[in-house]
Amino acid sequence: MLTPTYYLVLSALVFSIGAVGVLVRRNPLVMFMCVELMLNAVNLTFIGLAWGLNDIGGQVSVFFVMVVAAAEVVVGLAIVVAIMRRRDGATADDLSVLRG
Amino acid sequence: MTNFLVAAESSAELSFPVLTSLIVVPFLGAVLVALVPKARVEAHRLIALMASVITGALSVWVLLTFDRTDGGFQFRSDDPNVWIESLGIRWDLAVDGISLFLVVLTGFLFPLAIIGVKPEHSPKSYFAWIILLEAGVMGVFMSLDLFFFFVFFEVVLVPMYFLIGTWGHGNRIYAATKFFLFTMFGSALMMIGILAIVFFHESATGIVTFDVVALAEGQNWGVDAGRWIFLSFVLAFSVKVPVFPVHTWLPDAHTEAPTAGSVILAGVMLKLGTYGFFRFGLYLFPEAATWFAPVLMILGTVGILYGAAAATVQKDLKRLVAYSSVAHLGFIVLGTFAITTESLTGSVVQMVNHGLSTGALFFLVGWMYERRHTRQIAELGGLQKAAPVFAAMFTLVMLSSIGLPGLNGFVGEFLILLGAFVANPWIASVAATGVIFAAVYLLWAYQRVFHGKAEGDNATMEDLRPNELLVLFPMIVLIIFLGVYPKPMIERIEPSIEVLVAHIDANVDGWTEPTADVLVAEESHDEGEEEEEEGESE
């Protein structure tokens, strides 16, 4: 019998994998992808609970998360493009201008 | 003899919100100055002057219509405008005998500061800041709502910060930053204190209010909590006053500030702290105030002697005057926490008098700097020959600052020491030595600056100009008038002081006002009479 808990566990796994990915990978694009993974994990939670609690609100939230994710990717990738154009093959570690 | 100052009408019949105007007029003036284009140089000054003169006139009107027999709050709207209902924050303004003269002093000094000194550059923002400052100061003196009090208390920092930082001399950024950080540090704790008493009051009565009167009458906090909260308030005010040892921002700020800034800083802004001691120290926390009174009396005395000693060896004339402020304000602190009717009255009188005499001194020093471009005492000398009127004015103001009887400075100082003596003879006797030191540092400075032979530029220094005399003249008149006939002022202050003392008496168990013994003279002296031993009176 499928329960929301399954969704939550799956979400937790994906979220953790995504988090580790953000921390470990150096390519900004891949880091972005890992962030997408985490967002999807959250979406899974929302969907699972919307189903489990029989509330459409969870789905609405997912909808908004997707919109925001899309916006984020658009801007984020634009930033990556701007950076990459100035320095080829830069990794996230190379960009530490904001160091204190 | 004083009937000419009797209130013309009762304050209850007021329809015109005069106190609100005292804040709104300068505020609007500031906005107007900010809106006028930069190019119209003379307009800024004119608008600022108009706004401050109107404010001054209104404050004089408040003075004239003030009911001198009433010790309570006057001009208070019966139905204060509620601003944030759920938090009980109200636009609630009033004056009593304690704040009345500070309001009038503010209204009096600002026009003079605007007439007396022209900024060296960017007049537009200068005048805007100055009269914005006036609005803030007025707000502090009149707010009965702790929230608005705190807002105004913080608001005044910003204009002064910019006045010092932009139009100051030499090390101005350092001085401005120091000034700002010191006062912010103090008031941050006070904000916590304010919230604490509001919550205490709320948990006891279920009413959220920032009304000082309600809070003070309620006294809904425990003894220990009250003492701690009192300390948070005292710290904020001590920085502002300033009380030793948190005074070090003052010499820097005064020295580096532009002349008008120094005048206002010394004349009005320091009084924010001493006024706070009255309204939010003694009135709000009577128990804690009486408990801490000895410590604060000693700190006041230390301030008197310490400020005097430090002033003696200053090489910079303006810095010397600044340190003399530390000493004078020490007297006020001493008088405030001696908590006798005489000393409290004296403290209020001294607040006004210090504003007049030190304000005038800063004017004179500022004008001297304009002429000679130095404040170093060593580079001045023999100015009396070149500028006799200047020297005469300086002498008079200096003597007032020294506390010569017959001039205003003496009355406050005397009442403070008298009251303090009744409360604690030893502290008062030590504090009284301050009058010796005051003579030492001021006369010595005067001798080095004005006496002797003039050399170089000193020999050709310009005497006072007519507009400068115009600024000084009202101050001089008040200095003499309040010294010879202080009654009109004292009789308006005293009822409020009596109310305050009664309030303290009612709210503190086992405390009564220290009073003098009263002996009655016998009809005639009989030589053979047994000596009647009066109990040890000290």
Binding site: L23, R26, M31, A92, L95, L98, G100 | K178, F244, P245, T248, Y306, A309, A310, T312, V313, T340, T341, E342, G382, Q384, T395, L399, P405, G406, F410, V411, F414, L418, G419, F421, V422, P425, A432, T433, V435, I436, A439, V440, L443, H451, G452, K453, Y485, K487, I490, T515, A516, L519, V520, A521, E522, H525, E527, E529, E531, E533, E534, E536, S537
Partner: protein, 774 residues
């Protein structure tokens, strides 16, 4: 008629205000006359008031006239009110009377001063303040006048402010007085705290109810104020320096009126002091001993002073000590009596000295005076009257009052009283001595203003010796040169002779005629050269001898000068000190003085002298001791003074004491005659340098204030800048330091931040979990 008292301070006040407004326009001398008129008006009003008071019954002779409430707060209340009673009227009479005279005198004295009108502004203001001081019915109003006169004294002492010395003296006067004012203020507080009132009638009326410690504290604190104002040890320091002011100021403020206000104050609170006499005599003993100590101490210093005004200044300190002694003995009448007579003769002396200074081109050094009797007849005649008065010669004013004080000290009884009397007597002796010294040095002897004084003679001798030595050295050098030249000439002669001999040998060996002729020519030439060289040598020798002689003479002259200088003996006493051989070398200033012709002063200055001289002669009539009916002053003051003093000493004792004091005065005068008139002894034996230096006390105090005292203030300023402010700035640098430490965490690496976020959320999650589980 008592209401005329309002006019008394009003006149000088109006004078002050009108001079302030139009004084500069009035100019000289109108401004001076206006001021004099103002003071005279005050005097006239005082006289009217005097008769008004006299018209009252004796019991009603204490009238309080209230003007308005001054300072009222809480239980404290004080009015601007005048207490008109015999004491204040007596004081006012001589303040305004002498004040008027001195105003008139000043018109002459300040002639030509650029700040002529300003001087009279201050003078009128002073009179006003002094009258407030006298009239005040409470301690605070008296304090107003007290400080007012102090401020005027400050202005007037530093009147010629361009001189650093004058400015310094003015400041010193004010500050030293402030030390005393501290005592006055605290006494006022104590009076209020223990009595509840600070007006004199209440204080005197309730004195009996005060506990002894309070009483003692009250009196002694007031006495601290008195020490300042009335220049008692240890606060007398300012008075001698205050002589830097114009001389009329010294006469009015620093001799006749202001400095006596301390004594006046003590008399005002005589109820307190009387109580102390009864129950705490140690308190009055302190007062008496400070008084007599000051009198004695100042008299020793006055003996050695060379500045004419300094002598009078120390004399004033000494006389004030007498008055304080009288107060300490409880005989207030004697104190007031002496105050009045002293005001007469000391004002006279000061004005006289001012006249002398004026006539002597502002030179104040008595050693340069002498023989002025003939040049300044009025000044010297009046001055001599003043001298006789102060020296205690009967029947002049000073004798009667001083005698009464000595008697009152004796009358205290016991060893204490006798010791007080003894020191008072010695002081009287010294007073007679130093005043006689002053008179003899100034008015008797030869006129020697144009002669060099001792220092100048030394200077002249030094210049003379230096000159002789220069001459000797110069001649020596010249002689050496001549010797050298001669040596050279001798050498040249030798060479010439050798050449001649060689030429002759050449001639003798000549082979042929031609050679012989040539050689002969050479021989001839050499012979001429030898002749020339011989002549030159002779000339050089003559020059050498001559230079040698000159050098010898110069050397001799120098040696003579030295031996002369070493043999230079001090002139026998009375003999005119001259520069002798060095007279050519006296400084230019001496010559300048020699060209100066001393002159008698103008009428504005001499009139007050004459009036005061008359008063100094007859002042004693105020309170003659012979019968009770003659105690005019005592009877007059009775309503103001709590009790009547009855001398315990018998009539015989009084006579003996009077004779003893006359004898003491006589000894003093005779001593001065021997030394300064007859020159039987060397004055240097008496005028010790340490006395001239005022026992080094002033210098020690100055050194302390300039040394450790200033160091302490510097230390506090240092403390403020470094420790107190240092803590503040330390807090700032701590924040900055910790900030830059934490800054390292801000690596700029996105992944590091992400790790931080991760670990943070782990912690948050853990916290949630714990919260939920709990």
């Amino acid at each position: 008629m008592v209401d005329f008292v309002y006019l008394v301070p009003l006149f000088p006040l109006l004078g002050f205000i009108s001079l302030m407004l139009v004084g500069r326009r009035l100019g000289e001398p109108a401004a001076g006359y206006l001021a004099t008129a103002a003071c005279g008006g005050a005097f006239a009003s005082t006289v009217v008031t005097f008769f008004g008071i006299r018209g009252l019954e004796e019991e009603e002779r204490q009238v309080t006239k209230t003007l308005f409430n001054w300072v009222i707060a809480g239980d404290f209340g004080v009015d601007v009110a005048f207490l008109v009673d015999p004491l204040s009227v007596a004081m006012m009479l001589f303040v305004t009377g002498i004040g008027t005279l001195i105003h008139l005198y000043s018109v002459g004295y300040m002639h030509g001063d650029p700040n002529f009108s300003k001087f009279f502004i201050y003078l009128n203001m002073f009179v006003f303040s002094m009258l407030i001081l006298v009239l005040g019915d409470n301690l605070l109003l008296t304090f107003l006048g007290w400080e007012g006169v102090g401020a005027c004294s400050y202005f007037l002492v530093s009147f010629w402010f361009t001189e650093e010395k004058n400015a310094m003296a003015g400041k010193k006067a004010f500050v030293t007085n402030r030390v005393g004012d501290w005592g006055f203020m605290v006494a006022t507080f104590l009076a209020f705290a223990t009595i509840g009132s600070i007006d004199y009638l209440t204080i005197n009326g309730t004195a009996a109810q005060l506990s002894t410690p309070v009483l003692a504290a009250l009196i002694l604190l007031l006495f601290v104020g008195v020490m300042g104002k009335s220049a008692q040890f240890p606060l007398y320091l300012w008075l001698p320096d205050a002589m830097a002011g114009p001389t009329p100021v010294s006469a009015l403020i620093h001799a006749a009126t202001m400095v006596t206000s301390g004594v006046y104050l003590l008399t005002r609170v005589n109820g307190l002091i009387y109580e102390a006499l009864l129950h705490a005599q140690w308190v009055t003993n302190i007062i008496a001993w400070v008084g007599v100590g000051t009198a004695f101490f100042a008299a020793t210093i006055a003996i050695a002073q060379t500045d004419i005004k300094k002598v009078l200044a120390y004399s004033t300190v000494s006389q004030l000590g007498y008055m304080v002694l009288a107060v300490g003995s409880g005989v207030f009448v004697a104190a007031i009596f002496h105050m009045i007579t002293h005001a007469f003769f000391k004002a006279l002396l000061f004005l006289g000295s001012g006249s002398v200074i004026h006539g002597m081109d502002d030179d104040q050094d008595m050693r340069r005076y002498g023989g002025l009797r003939k040049l300044m007849p009025i000044t010297s005649a009046t001055f001599i009257i003043g001298w006789l008065a102060i020296a205690g010669v009967p029947p002049f004013a000073g004798f009667w009052s001083k005698d009464e004080i000595l008697l009152s000290a004796w009358d205290l009884g016991g060893l204490n009283g006798k010791l007080l009397w003894f020191f008072g007597l010695i002081t009287a002796l010294m007073t007679a001595f130093y005043m006689s010294r002053q008179v003899f040095m100034t008015f008797y002897g030869d006129y020697r203003f144009g002669d060099p004084d001792a220092d100048e003679v030394d200077e002249a001798w030094a210049a003379y010796l230096a000159h002789a030595q220069d001459a000797k050295l110069e001649a020596g050098t010249a002689a050496d040169d001549a010797i050298e030249a001669h040596t050279k000439a001798v050498a040249a002669l030798e060479t010439a002779r050798e050449a001649y001999v060689d030429a002759q040998i050449e001639l003798s060996q000549a082979a042929d005629e031609e050679a012989t002729v040539a050689a002969q020519k050479v021989v001839d030439a050499k012979s001429t050269a030898v002749d020339k060289a011989e002549a030159a040598e002779e000339k050089a020798q003559a020059a050498r001898d001559e230079a040698g002689a000159v050098a010898k003479a110069a050397s001799q002259a120098d040696a003579d000068a030295r031996s002369e200088a070493s043999r230079r003996v001090e002139p026998a006493p009375g003999e005119q000190l001259t520069a002798g051989a060095a007279s050519e070398f006296v400084p230019a200033a001496v010559k300048q003085r020699a060209e100066h012709h001393p002159h008698e002063s103008n009428w504005q200055m001499t009139t007050p002298l004459v009036v005061l001289a008359v008063l100094s002669i007859f002042g004693g009539l105020l309170n003659l001791p012979f019968t009770s009916d003659l105690h005019f002053l005592e009877h007059w003051l009775e309503p103001s003074i709590v009790f009547e003093h009855k001398f315990a000493a018998s009539g015989l004792t009084k006579w003996i004491l009077a004779i003893v004091s006359i004898v003491a005065g006589g000894i003093g005068i005779m001593g001065a005659v021997m030394i300064y008139l007859k020159h039987n002894a060397d004055p240097k034996k008496i005028e010790k340098p340490i006395l001239l230096d005022a026992w080094g006390y002033d210098r020690a105090v100055s050194a302390f204030m300039g040394g450790p005292g200033a160091k302490m203030f510097e230390g506090i300023a240092w403390l403020d800048a470094n420790i107190v402010d240092g803590m503040v700035n330390g807090t700032g640098s701590f924040v900055r330091g910790s900030g830059s430490a934490v800054r390292r965490l801000q690596s700029g690496l996105v992944r590091s931040y992400a790790l931080g976020i991760t670990l943070g959320s782990v912690a948050l999650l853990a916290w949630f979990l714990v919260r939920v589980a709990a």
